[in-house]
Amino acid sequence: MTFESASERVLRFVSFAATFMFVVGVLLTMADIFLRSVSTLTVHGMVDMMQLCVLTGAMLAIPHAFLSDQHVAIDLFVEHAPTRVQLALRIVAALLAIAFLSGVLWFSYQQALNEAHDTSQTIGIPMTWYWAPFLAGIALSVFANFVLMVQLWRHGLPAKAIE
């Protein structure tokens, strides 16, 4: 197994595992609505938990979307360019993504340290629990773009793009 395929598998697994956070969010909300309608009980801290579920699910799905070419990009103006030009542009795009996301990662990490002792509004979940999936998603996205660059460098454009 190559470095690229192993990385792709890991990121795909992370992305898929994170999707269950959405299911947890749906089930918690349904439980809350059910409890409210048959009793005076509610799921305490629903808003805080839902935020955490969605943030985790979404952020951890971002890295694999780079490798599966899901993020919105416009092919129209470059699709007829020579393969070498297309390859170079994709590598430049990955470099720009690494630069941008590294900036977000570094400064967000500093901000997370500043908010290390803060808690969420309703049930006092530590803010680090929110920052952790955010930072993990961004860090893995930097890694995904690095893998993408290696992939492009070693294997050229994906078959789909050459068609």
Binding site: F22, G25, M50, S68, R90, V92, L96, Y130
Partner: protein, 433 residues
């Protein structure tokens, strides 16, 4: 160099980067950083990159996005589209062009539980085009009506684009949904009118189907019930104040899962595919939101919208003229950009302008949703056309592009109506909320 000039250069650079196939979210972020540093210096970097992206993706209101996406993903795999189509086929299929009109109706109803135009077009293409072909319908009409009908998924609530507009501009999601109802119905009616005109001028394009018997018509109503139930549960819970939009979306996602299970479609493969689709779509939206947060700060500090307002005043442009110019810009951008990116790139520039001109933000939201939806069927980047060409056997992109022209004309008529008669959008929200 003055900040507005830097802002204008930034917008140009953004379009160049997008044209060079840099992912839209990354292009927005990079331009936002470089432009922000050029205007505010390096010290602004910590604030822009350290807090803006996190603050943008953490709000509770965003929870509604993956839940509506999940509802659409399960609804698309629950076989609802086929039932809707068969039901409307039984009811109006015997009209001349009746199958095409039934496709519009099925798209509208499916859009009411799906919320995604691409999913609506893909599922309806698989269901409706083979049926229309078997009856001898012209491929141009079949492909055109599915491509156009697919766009109803964006306009008819619940709509993901409307949710994102409401969140970005701090408007009520409930009011946005209500405001989209009449324009959505109007769009469907105008598409049926377009079908009628086409088949009247060229009857050979759409032979009549045999009339269904009374039993089939009764059964058709039964097939409409699950969709009506799901739509009623989602929208009803919002407007009866039983649930917030997020809770309603969760009810929708859960309801779509239950419907899929009841129809024996809820296999492990369907669950996996639906969850993966939910994750991928949400990831794409969240990354664009991260990019938008950085770009928005740059556009705001560049005071570009203020400069545009000054230009409008200097040239004495009437407010409605400004709206028309904005719509034309959207139609042109729609030929090259996808709906979400187009909306998020332009909102930081256009939205402050619209507010300063005194227009209603909800009305503008409906207008934006309507016009970005047209981008889905305008070549060369009309995504619905690509989808239909790829999921339908022996269907060429050019055929679908030709077939969609009458529906584009209907879209232009609707856009003009919505722009000139704001009450078409605002009547329901002011009545019910």
């Amino acid at each position: 160099m003055s900040p507005p000039i830097i802002g204008a250069i930034g917008v140009f650079a953004l379009l160049v980067l997008i044209g060079l196939r840099v992912p839209v979210a990354i292009a927005m972020g990079v331009v936002g950083i470089v432009g922000g540093v050029a205007i505010n210096g390096w010290t602004s970097l910590g604030f822009v990159l350290g807090s803006q992206p996190f603050v943008t993706v953490v709000p509770y209101s965003l929870s509604v996005i993956p839940l509506f996406v999940m509802m659409g993903a399960f609804a698309a795999r629950a076989g609802l589209s086929a039932s809707l189509y068969q039901a409307l086929h039984a009811l109006i299929g015997h009209w001349r062009g009746g199958l095409a009109s039934a496709t519009v109706g099925a798209c509208a109803l499916f859009g009411a539980v799906c919320g995604s135009s691409l999913a609506t077009a893909a599922t309806m293409a698989r269901v409706a085009i083979p049926e229309m072909r078997s009856l001898g319908y012209d491929d141009r009409l079949s492909a055109g009506v599915v491509a156009a009908g697919g766009t109803l998924g964006i306009l008819i609530p619940p709509s993901i684009i409307m949710v994102i507009y409401a969140i970005m501009t701090e408007q009520s999601i409930g009011r946005m949904f209500l405001a989209g109802m009449v324009p959505g119905i109007l769009a469907a009616v105008l598409y049926v009118v377009a079908v009628t005109i086409v088949v009247t001028l060229r009857p050979a394009m759409a032979p009549r189907a045999p009339r269904a018997n009374a039993a089939a018509k009764c059964a058709a109503f039964g097939q409409l019930a699950p969709v009506a139930l799901l739509f009623g549960a989602v929208m009803g819970s919002i407007y009866l104040n039983i649930a917030s939009p997020t809770e309603a979306a969760a009810v929708g996602a859960f309801g779509a899962m239950v419907l899929a299970a009841a129809r024996r479609k809820l296999t492990w493969e369907v669950v996996r595919e639906s969850l993966v689709e939910t994750a991928q779509t949400t990831a794409v939206i969240f990354l664009i939101l991260v990019g938008t947060s950085v770009l928005q700060f740059f556009i705001e500090t560049s005071t570009l919208p203020t400069l545009l307002l000054e230009l409008i005043n200097r040239f004495n442009l009437p407010p409605f003229g400004v709206i028309l110019i904005i719509l034309v810009i959207y139609i042109i951008l729609g030929c090259f950009l996808d709906s979400l990116s187009m909306m998020l790139i332009t909102l930081p520039i256009f939205f402050p302008l619209i507010i300063k001109l005194g227009y209603d933000p909800i009305w503008f939201g409906v207008l934006v949703t309507s016009v970005v939806e047209i981008g889905l069927i305008t070549p060369p980047v009309g995504m619905n056309l690509f989808i239909i060409a790829s999921v339908t056997e022996k269907m060429k992109f050019e055929v679908a592009a030709q077939g969609v022209l009458p529906f584009l004309a209907a879209d232009c008529v609707r856009l003009l109506l919505l722009a000139s008669i704001p009450s078409l959008s605002l009547f329901l929200p002011s009545l019910l909320m």
